[in-house]
Symmetry: C2
Amino acid sequence: MSNKKKLIQPRTLKGFRDYLPDVMMPREELINTARRVYRSYGFAPIDTPTLEYAEILLGKGSDETDRQMYRFEDHGKRDVGMRFDLTVPLARFAAQHIGDLGTPFKRYHIATVWRGENTQRGRYREFMQCDFDTIGTKSLVADIETALVIHDLMVAIGFDDFTVRVNNRQVLSGLLEKLGLAEKSTEILRALDKLAKIGAEKVAEEMQQAAGATAEQAAQVLKLAEIEGTTDDILIALDGLVAGNEKGEIGVGQLRDLTQATSAAGVPSDRLQIDVSIARGLDYYTGTIFETFLGELPGIGSVCSGGRYNDLASLYTNQELPGIGASLGLDRLLAAMEELGKIDNRTTPAEVFIAYFDEKSLPRYLQIAAQLRGAGFNVELYPEAKKIGQQLKYADRRGFKVAVVAGDRELEENCVQLKSLKTGDSQTASLSGGAEELIAAIPQILGSTT
Amino acid sequence: MSNKKKLIQPRTLKGFRDYLPDVMMPREELINTARRVYRSYGFAPIDTPTLEYAEILLGKGSDETDRQMYRFEDHGKRDVGMRFDLTVPLARFAAQHIGDLGTPFKRYHIATVWRGENTQRGRYREFMQCDFDTIGTKSLVADIETALVIHDLMVAIGFDDFTVRVNNRQVLSGLLEKLGLAEKSTEILRALDKLAKIGAEKVAEEMQQAAGATAEQAAQVLKLAEIEGTTDDILIALDGLVAGNEKGEIGVGQLRDLTQATSAAGVPSDRLQIDVSIARGLDYYTGTIFETFLGELPGIGSVCSGGRYNDLASLYTNQELPGIGASLGLDRLLAAMEELGKIDNRTTPAEVFIAYFDEKSLPRYLQIAAQLRGAGFNVELYPEAKKIGQQLKYADRRGFKVAVVAGDRELEENCVQLKSLKTGDSQTASLSGGAEELIAAIPQILGSTT
């Protein structure tokens, strides 16, 4: 006869995951960096409910998002769903509050979304989005700032080698008008969007099959998409191609103004390039569009994308709300940073570990910890008087950088041993006159371990 | 005949709310403060899925949480629920990962939870919890650190006048044993927990009705709960009361060690007090328990509460996982800060507003903005050349502190006007030799506006 009770098996749902500290810490850091950069441009945070009326979330959705949405009846028999992106909630939010908020309204929204996707594609059913948008202005200044935010964000995250690729839907539309393909532009742009993935030949096939273009027309669109060179070269080539088409001329003019302005603001020309081949499949973009690629890992795709739209919230209000925004691909970026060795495997946010010898010294340990925290260090005090070797092994495994070791002998002499957990080197720091010597010595050890 | 299309009414579900910038900014700041303090003690972040198997979430729940949980069938016909707290997911998480994580394991978890509660009590159905716990050690050092974290957190948030009230369940249990009420301790403690709310008379009634205590026994428990005085007075009184009962003696010893240690670590005695009347209704606390009250608003209840438990995850594993933790009451605290005037009504995270006059000056504005951002300021450039009065009204309404005004005349003279939006005062800052003069002048204006 067993006394064991029946246990519930601890497990997560398929497509969902726990974030352990080694994964959660770089994630938090990335989110904080995004927040800091967004705020530096005056974007303010908002949040919206996870659950909304299904009718609101489904308003604009494609059949695919409809199917993927987590949808159920709540306690009050309402038909509700969990948000599957932050764009639909923003549209609803803007329609509801724009009168109070006033325009231009600049917001960022960093939040979780859910999609009951097929996990065989390696996708998760719960993930974060990290969006910023400027709503209620058609001014190109907002487009320019969006480019600058993306640039500053990539630099702040720690990338040197990246390219923000910019295009303008009006250039594409104008050219399609000239080619007599205006009515098929959605299909053409969707095909064009796959250029990097499937190559020119297959894109040409799709343009003919899905959009009814002739082989000649498809070839001309692809010729446009393959324009390369310096920004000036590209602009001159585009001037020629769109000449006579108003939409196209406006688009090229906006690209010219945008690249000049970002250059004046200090963005190097290799980090912001016109790329006529990017189209962004989504229908609702109407002007400037962005994608961002890592120089070392272009194959993972765009890590920050967005663009300008004419009318954000037409499903919920008759007020026209033009805007522009972009979204940082958190998960993709974290995967890239992992692959590029930009993430260490620490599991503690603290640098300094204080070993614990016996209860009577506890007040001293607590004082030292408080002094170090006061000086800005993150400090963990081990809670049990285990063998020092065992404590240091714990500290090393967690990723602490420095251990403060102070047994009876050290405390009697009013000093501590400071041990670098990377090199194993020890040095003595006196506590006479407070923790100043300790506080001065730690940054040197931290410096030598990074 | 109307051309108007049918609009979907933009609205949120009952019990849910949008967070506009004026509410979201102090919320973000509070969360960042909590994160910073938790990290300074070596607590590491984790996250768990919003959706879990219903069987896991319901494992420990009371009937009330069962009823309140959002529960539905997912696309794969699984019985799933949305988490209603962060404790149950922590237990499941610890049971699943503790082998990899090792102990002691110190984690914080700041995340949204959902309960389909009755909104007539003024409760929301979606809210945030902000928990930290130390798992896998019975050492009192973890209890002491929990008290220190709560103290440092309140100070970091900006409170001077608050009290962390500490008690120990073993003191209460020991006393109940001495009074012959050991078997009714759950009911007694639940009644005692209501002392501040309903008063001694009603608590005594409940002890008699719900726990079958005699009037005399109830009076003795209440007498204990009303012990007051300095920490030393209370400890001496408790020594006398528990004398001869082992459990009680251990509990009083722990209270003595804890108060001595926090005092050694620099916590003023008025900010950490023994309060024998707090009981924390929940069954699973077994040792130290905490509540935290604001001196100016004691009536709103505890803003940070927690305690020690013997066995976190017994539903999911046979491994015993003792621990201690506490939870910051974000919404309650924000409501208190609002009431105490500690929250301003700004809707922008930026201090500096740059007015926009015409397109040809845009490169200069962008340069100035970049220089100010480089110096650490958050800066918004207005995107349209509206009348300056209209722009300044926008800036003032949003809560910017300083406006940089530079029309043709100023830029020709290579200077800008710096305008305090609080006082209306203007001063000139030269741009010759870069933005140094500007960067030096702004903090002075910011200082005078706070």
